[in-house]
Symmetry: C2
Subunit: 302 residues, 2 copies
């Protein structure tokens, strides 16, 4: 077998599953594996074992990119860099993701550590629906709601990183005789109202079982269009990508576009919502391709 | 008189008044003038005349920084760079601010063109309440509501620039038996609900005449605390500065802090609201100091 000395590795670290990949380039994945997220020690050991096996089989891995669920300390200047922060996820709060993983890997490997959504935005900006754009917003609507933003090509971090799941939203539930809110922290935030579990709790069955003409989707589009308005106001992106499990629902993106257009009142000097609010072109692969892109950028910067 | 060959100039271009200054450094203003904003030709000619006189009196101006009301095209790569965009302000829509001004000034003068609020954020980050911070958010609450953000020291532009006056906010008016909204575009946006004219319309008298214990301020703090939550979620700033005429109201910032703390539900890993939500240290000078800082940066980059 021919060894390829310039392999890159990526991890999409999700709250429910991990995706690990080894690739020749972000667009050329050689092997990929998926497994459930359990304890940090178990999960990261499994990731490390995969990379060690791949190194034996394919040659040396030169860099690793990680897109992680959050909140996480992604600031390389911070003493807590590489750590998962205040997650309710059992065992992960305060866990030193990067340090632990580094200890499990054979060689000193340069590692990039980003949020899953910033990684997805980077993946989409290089290979997907954000190509030709410098300002790419990526939202994921699933078990939780998160968002990342590339500003002029650079991931927005700020003090920590955006946490757009906790944007304040009006109470639209009232108009439907409902009052669902699954966020334990906030009276009415985007995630509390519009994540997958909120849909399931509100209507008594998961969104995937609700027909396309169910009022659930009209209500969901109201909440998500408020997020689109707020992020247009705060970030001024070139494109707003909506990904994640909930967005698999047929017709939902069209409803969001229509609601966004209504709520925008023709104020923003934007292209048509059809060219502004888009599904990610890489689909479920955006995160892992983004993680690999982070690894590729380490190599390119050498 | 000794000529100083390294003078810088600044313009804070507001919707109601212009401030022009000539300085040795952003902290050392030699002369400053203020006049009402009328037509673009008249107003910019007056600014140019001031700078020409100052040049005669003090020596050469090396660079000019402008912080302007918006929306404006502040992207140097755009064909419309230097232009005011869709403002309702008579005569200014589509006006080529930078080109016109350049034509009125004797020598080829390097000009930086920013939003007023980004300029204020830059001023505060260099000399005011944002010192020692890389991620500084600046809001102004006055005739309108706007906000700027320095991300890792760089002004956030995106496709155009933030327009946080149009963040979607819940209808809190209802709880007070009111329904004021002065924005012609949006059902319920921050500016429509919480700018100075909205306060005056809602209560029948300007905010400056309402006592500190008037319910107006409780309501105002609710709207502004939602903006604080949304911008924490979207920008993740180190500090959030609240400036502008409405913020002169005694006790208002304390009310915003209390409402923000309540609405945050202890979710964000932030310092106390007393160290996070701050008045601008430069007060009404933030904008012009920021404009001068833009000019200084041109010189420093040479």
């Amino acid at each position: 077998m021919t060894e390829d000395p310039f392999l890159i590795a990526g991890i999409e670290a999700g709250g429910t599953k991990f995706v690990c990949a080894v690739a020749r380039s972000p667009g050329e994945i050689i092997e990929e594996t998926r497994f459930p997220t359990t304890t940090p020690e178990e999960t990261l050991s499994e990731a490390a074992a995969f990379f060690r096996t791949m190194t034996g089989r394919h040659g040396g891995i030169q860099a690793l990119g990680i897109g992680t669920f959050g909140p996480a300390d992604i600031n390389p200047r911070s003493p807590g860099y590489g750590q998962i922060l205040t997650t309710p996820k059992e065992g992960w709060k305060g866990f030193h993701f990067v340090d632990f993983l580094r200890g499990q890997l054979p060689d000193p490997l340069p590692i990039a550590f980003e949020t899953d959504v910033n990684a997805a935005a980077i993946g989409e900006s290089e290979f997907g629906a954000g190509r030709h754009h410098r300002n790419v917003a990526y939202l994921t609507v699933g078990t939780g709601i998160g968002g990342g933003f590339l500003h002029d090509g650079q991931a927005l971090h700020g003090r920590m990183h955006p946490e757009i799941g906790h944007l304040a939203v009006p109470d639209f539930d009232r108009d439907y005789g409902k009052s669902t809110n699954v966020c334990p922290f906030h009276e009415s935030c985007l995630e509390g109202r519009a994540c997958g579990p909120a849909i399931a709790e509100r209507w008594g069955q998961p969104g995937s079982e609700l027909p396309a003409d169910h009022p659930a989707w009209e209500l969901e589009a109201k909440y998500l269009s408020v997020a689109a308005v707020d992020l247009t106001a705060a970030w001024s992106p070139d494109v707003l990508l909506f990904g994640g499990g909930v967005m698999q629902q047929e017709g939902l993106i069209e409803r969001i576009r229509a609601e966004f257009t209504l709520r925008s009142g023709n104020y923003w000097a934007l292209p048509s919502a059809d060219d502004y609010i888009l599904p990610p072109a890489l689909g479920q692969q955006a995160g892992i391709v983004g993680a690999l892109t982070l690894a590729q950028r380490i190599i390119d910067a050498r």
